[in-house]
Structure formats: structure tokens, C-alpha cells
Symmetry: C2
Subunit: 233 residues, 2 copies
DNA sequence: CGGAGCCTTGAGATTTATCAAGGGTAGTGG
DNA sequence: CCACTACCCTTGATAAATCTCAAGGCTCCG
């Protein structure tokens, strides 16, 4: 939540209290919330990477979005809704579990919180749309570039990527699941991108060598992230 | 809005008043709202079909979702947000333009309206996720089947498709833009589906001959539409 | 040292795109 | 009433992108 707009100290204390009440640590590669579960809390990511995903009966998996620290999910607005997808941890994750009622109250008292929740919803939806565009009309290379760009800008926003190098704990298979490609093809494209000196990527560390070129390839415009409404605290 | 949950007569009158205040008729194939515009109103579709879409500089187009009567869009929650995609009319459309403030007030007084707006948001987001799955891991035939199924169930819900036959004003090129395929390939798949006696489709009329088979092909489960929260009035 | 997980490479198959052209139909103007 | 145009739909041939299958190598961890 630290990336959201203008809060005073009192507000901030209230938020921290709320986030401190109940938290859960989920090991890497385990579910935070399974498909079909009915979430009892609103979740706020404090640490670690995760993803929304959908698993098919034949084993194929589609990653629907990448979840980073500060993201809020399951804002169901007091309606019990069965999850139509799962939330998985990519690295170990720490998430705060907030009761919907408490969050609702806080939203009434602190407009900035209501604002932040709305902002979160907008960005989530806009990001989904961007992924539809990516999968619908971009090539393999373009989709992968798009993913790198999105993650880079979002990390940057929350202060987790102050330089060109950042953590990137997804495997090539994860990237494949996110982009609708096969791991083999992702591998070949990534190698091409390395040859072209666009990126370096080894282990869990990614370096963006040529951000402009990458954005150009992906036709990436960060507008959909609505960065302007998310002034870092 | 007629498909939404339990309202009494007084509430209904208030809603109708709101919807009556200002409306716009948009001819077929024109934009209701262009990319980059800042919407001044919340829109409620009273009549006609539309779509969200994103146009690329090279002319390619991705349809992001199909918009049907009763759908609400641009629920920006009093924040002026620049559209990162456009809203286009497929047939002639009649939309009510509601001021964000008026809607907000009504939400406070009539919980069912707040509920309906939230429901709308959920379904929109869930539908986007479903499209990501479709584009990410389904084949051409499966994607087209998915689109037919989604539209069929949604029309059914709002009472516009009481039998197996329904209006379907998209062209094959539109279906291509929605599914990330080329018009040529859509044509071939549709013909296959006709040969297999799954559908009939001529002009602007679609008949679902074998809904079960179609759902099976698309692995379609209407869960994401959350029909259970949308009791017809 | 052995295993597990991940990355890499190659060859061939499949799906889907591209290019190009023809045909139907509905509306429009003469 | 006819000709014409515009918009779709259809078909064929060929090309390109991506997938599949299969195997081998690296690295980290126990």
C-alpha cells in the first residue's frame, strides 16, 4: 500500500494497524488461495511475488497477472464470491489479511484509502486489458518484451528496481504460462533478446539493457498503470 | 440494469429517473467514446450491442469485450481517468449517461444499486480474465466457441435469447478481432462448426444447435458470469 | 555423489497467417 | 428496373510462426 497517494501520519498508523492484525507467510510455489475457495479476507501483499492463474484440467496453466508487493486482491466488497482462479506464490510471500468490514470502515473514514482501493481496481482491470491485447495481437517476442516492461515499471514505482537491474523470480516456464507460449519458444526468444543486447537474464536477476528498444518492440506505453495516481509515499 | 438483484418499486423509479435524464443514440460502427477521451459520465447501455476495443497504430484491432444491454461502463468512481481503450457501437446503441455524483448518491441510499455496480465490476473483470485464458491457451475453434457461449449465456440472462436462436450482429472480422485470429481463419473454423452442426449463422442471426457440445469444446463454465448474483427483475 | 529443477538445442509437425482473387447481397442513384 | 458500389463472405495456394517431442547439460542442494 506504500505506493498510494497522499496520506497523513494518523492515516498511515491506522493502515499499519490494520495490516498488522493478521498475516500469512506462504512458501514459494504454493497457493495463497485456491480456485473455488471463498476468500474470507482482503489480502494485501507485503512482500514477495505471486500471480493469479487458472489451471486447466489437462495441466495447462494460464497466468492472468503478476502480483507484486503493495497489490491488493480479493476486494469482494462484502460479497462471498467463489474464486474463479487461484492466487499462487512465486517466491515466498507475506500477505496481510484484512477483514472486509474493517477495510470498509477505514475507507469511509480515510478517503485516501477508498481512493487507493479504487485505484487498485482500475489498474488491475486495465492490466488485464493490456494482457488481452498482448495475447490477441502481439508476436511472441513482443509479448515477452511487454511482460518485462510491465514488471519493470511496476517494480520501479514501488521502489524495488531503482536501477536497470531487478529481481525477476519467474522461470521461463512461468513466462510461457503468462504469454501463452511454450517454454521452448520462450527460451529461443529470450536468447534472441539477449543476443540483441536488450536484456540480461540469469538466475533470478533481470537487467534491462535497452528499455527504449524494449518498449518500442512491445509498443509499451505505461499509461494503463496510471502511475500518475500513485504518488510514492 | 434490469437484470440486477432485488429492487423495490421506489428504488426502481429512482433508477429510471436517473437513466432518463440524459441519453445518447450512437449509430452502428461509430464510437461511443474514443481512446484518450476523459468520460464525463457513467454509461448504461439501454439498447444495442457494442464493444471495448483497442486500436493499434498499424490498423490491427483487438476487441476487449462485448457490451450488451444492461452493461455499465466508465464507473471511474469520481476520478477523471483517460480512456486507454475505446467503446464502439456494433449496432445502433442507446446509452444513458449518468453523472458520477448522482450514481454515487443513489448507491448510498439504495444498497441494491451499490451491489449492482459492484457486481458489474466483478463480472467485467472476471470476463477479462476469461478472455486472457481463451487467448492464452485455447485453439482457434475453442476461442470462437467460447465467444459464442459467453454471448449466448449473457443474452439469455437479460432475456434477449429465450430460444436457441439469437441476434448476433458481429461480422466475422469482428470475431477475428475478438479472438486474435485472422478473418480468413475465423471463416474456415465457422464453416467447420456449421458442418459439425454446432451452429447456424447467417446474416445477423445465430442459432446454437448444440450448446452442450459447444460448451465442451470451449471448456466453457459460466461461473465467471456469476449469474447467481444477477436475479432477473 | 545423486537428484531435481531449469535451461538449451535440434528436427519435424501443425496451426495459423498472408496474399490474392472471386462471388453474393443489399443498398443507391440514374 | 438496371447498374454500380460497398461490404461481407468464401476459396485456394503458399509462407511463417509456433508447437511437439526428444534428448542433453548445467547448477544447486541434500
Amino acid at each position: 500500500m506504500h505506493a498510494y497517494s497522499g496520506l497523513n501520519d494518523a492515516d498511515r498508523r491506522q493502515i499499519d494497524t490494520l495490516l498488522d492484525q493478521r498475516r500469512q507467510v506462504v512458501p514459494a510455489r504454493r497457493d495463497v488461495l485456491g480456485e473455488g475457495e471463498v476468500p474470507r479476507f482482503v489480502h494485501v501483499v507485503l512482500e514477495g511475488w505471486g500471480c493469479r492463474y487458472r489451471q486447466m484440467s489437462d495441466g495447462r496453466r494460464q497466468i492472468l497477472s503478476v502480483i507484486l508487493p503493495g497489490d491488493v486482491f480479493d476486494v469482494t466488497g462484502q460479497v462471498a464470491i467463489r474464486m474463479d482462479h487461484a492466487i499462487g506464490a512465486i517466491t515466498q510471500m507475506t500477505v496481510a489479511e484484512v477483514s472486509a468490514e474493517a477495510l470498509h470502515d477505514l475507507q469511509l473514514h480515510v478517503p485516501a484509502v477508498a481512493q487507493a482501493v479504487r485505484w487498485n481496481g482500475h489498474v488491475t482491470t486495465a492490466t488485464h486489458r493490456e494482457w488481452i491485447v498482448s495475447l490477441g495481437l502481439r508476436s511472441a517476442r513482443e509479448r515477452i518484451a511487454q511482460l518485462f516492461c510491465e514488471v519493470y515499471f511496476r517494480l520501479n514505482l514501488i521502489g524495488l528496481c531503482p536501477t536497470q537491474a531487478c529481481e525477476f523470480p519467474l522461470t521461463q516456464a512461468d513466462v510461457a504460462d503468462a504469454t501463452g507460449l511454450t517454454p521452448v519458444h520462450v527460451n529461443r526468444m529470450v536468447q534472441e533478446m539477449r543476443r540483441d543486447r536488450l536484456i540480461e537474464w540469469a538466475g533470478k536477476s533481470l537487467t534491462i539493457l535497452d528499455l527504449d528498444a524494449l518498449c518500442e518492440i512491445a509498443q509499451f506505453t505505461p499509461a494503463y498503470l496510471h502511475l500518475e495516481h500513485a504518488v510514492p509515499a
